[in-house]
């Protein structure tokens, strides 16, 4: 996986500082990523953590209720470390709380995949409409990417990011194990469980195309030599996903050519604002409150 870290161009890296990311970050050391890249990773973790935590008290079985609460706890923990580091690089008044609670949807840099509700259709309002198969398939698709991303980033020249990645990798592997277990159990399960997992996969797979379409903030981060070039992981990701899908007897849907989501560039679905409204409401109604 060493190839996944873009090789720093020695002459370039030593002679001039990495280009400052848009978004007003303070200058940072050569070979370090900008705050925006940290926010991309942090927003991914926070938004999925918030989504999965919706199962708290509503899980299909007690063990899975606990599983989602635990996975969310890990994800929010990862997000906190990344926000803290981003806040240090942004400087000024920025803190992990201002970054999590006082940015609006267009400023969030998460994959659109992670903000979608737990259901196959794009409309639906009742709590009973939420579908655990969507939760599991999403955790599988994202988790299989993140074991590779964190694995590459733990060797980043950006020491703070590498330290966070090394810890997050341990958790991502465990989350992937959980999701993979359920992919197989339900995919190769009853007729109904198979149909629901297949429907969730058909619904979510198009959103994974966003992984491979490099955004401006990713290009800037890769140019520092400290970030991971995600498209370079695609072959390994395909192999991992295909192997689990084969055991799960699920069919990988063909992807139609069409719109590729751009959540990581701040262009989101209509679902993110509702998620943020719920997550940020308390902090905004009572700024500075301690609890």
């Amino acid at each position: 996986m060493d190839a996944a870290i873009a090789a720093p161009s020695a002459a370039q890296d030593r002679s001039k500082p990495a280009s400052a990311p848009s978004g007003g970050s303070a200058p940072h050391a050569v070979g370090s990523v900008g705050a925006n890249y940290l926010l991309h990773l942090a927003d991914n973790a926070l938004v999925l953590g918030q989504r999965n935590a919706e199962w708290c008290g509503h899980g299909p079985i007690l063990e899975e209720d606990i599983a989602m609460a635990n996975i969310s706890l890990d994800l929010v923990g990862q997000a906190r470390l990344l926000y803290q580091e981003a806040a240090r690089r942004i400087g000024g008044e920025a803190t992990e709380d201002t970054l999590a609670y006082f940015r609006d949807a267009p400023e969030f840099r998460n994959y659109t995949l992670l903000e979608l509700p737990h259901r196959v259709g794009l409309v639906g309002y009742a709590q009973s409409d939420i579908d655990y198969s969507v939760t599991l398939v999403r955790n599988f698709l994202y988790g299989s990417l993140m074991v590779m991303v964190w694995d590459a980033l733990q060797r980043s020249s950006d020491e703070a990011l590498a330290a966070i990645a090394a810890k997050s990798l341990k958790e991502a592997k465990y989350h992937l194990r959980h999701a993979s277990d359920w992919m197989v159990r339900l995919g190769d399960g009853s007729e109904e469980s198979h149909a629901r997992m297949q429907a969730a996969l058909d619904h979510l797979m198009p959103y994974t195309q966003e992984f491979w379409a490099t955004s401006e903030l990713e290009s800037q981060a890769v140019a520092t030599g400290a970030a991971v070039d995600v498209p370079s992981l695609r072959t390994a990701w395909d192999a991992l996903v295909n192997e689990v899908l084969a055991e799960a007897t699920l069919k990988r849907p063909a992807l139609p050519a069409g719109y590729i989501t751009q959540g990581k560039s701040g262009i989101h679905s209509e679902h993110l604002s509702y998620l943020l409204g719920e997550m940020q409401g308390l902090a905004r109604a009572h700024p500075g409150a301690q609890w």
Partner: protein, 186 residues
């Protein structure tokens, strides 16, 4: 690295004050035995000590309690000091020594297997494709079965990937039929 020692007298005194601070969630073992307490060093200006701790799980809510407990233990011994959190090297359950593992077992928690084996895929296999399915349950490919901490039987099964705290999974013994916690390798 797993048994750091303090050499100067003030740091040594602080180390003794801190080594018995219990883990807030598993009080049968101390934060030193779990490998959370990494280092105690005297500040260069002689104004007190700096205590280095490392977090376990990124979101573990016990970390704030541990920081408070360390501060309280220093204060109780009249030592001025601050707490520094250090992420690297990343905490691993491999730092839990044999004595602490035995304490966990007697407490009813099956101690963690080495991180190089067991259910979590290794770094190499996570990215490759050949071994990925080792973490499907039907192939439950643990290198060694986990022993029941109550009756010692190796005839055990995983009930739930996740348990009462971030660091534990729920298992069940198929011989004595008792459920038990398993400290997950991390």
């Amino acid at each position: 690295m797993s048994t750091p020692a303090a050499t100067d007298p003030l740091a040594q005194r602080a180390w003794h004050a801190l080594e018995s601070v219990p883990d807030p969630e598993i009080p049968v073992v101390s934060i030193r035995e779990l490998g959370i307490l990494r280092e105690v060093r005297e500040r260069a200006d002689g104004s007190g000590v700096e205590v280095v701790i490392t977090p376990t799980y990124n979101g573990c809510p016990a970390m704030e309690q541990i920081t408070d407990d360390v501060r309280a233990a220093l204060a109780a011994h009249g030592i001025a000091g601050s707490v520094v959190t250090q992420l690297a090297p990343a905490w691993t359950t491999d730092w839990i020594g044999p004595e602490a593992r035995e304490k966990l077992r007697r407490y009813g928690i099956a101690p963690p297997q080495p991180t190089s084996c067991g259910s979590a895929p290794s770094t190499e296999s996570a990215a490759g494709s050949a071994q990925v399915l080792q973490f499907a349950p039907r192939r439950n490919a643990r290198a060694e079965p986990i022993a029941c901490p109550l009756c010692g039987s190796h005839n055990t099964t995983e009930t739930s990937h996740f348990g009462s705290t971030a660091c534990k999974a729920l298992m069940r013994c198929l011989d004595c039929l008792e459920p038990f916690d398993y400290f997950k390798p991390y």
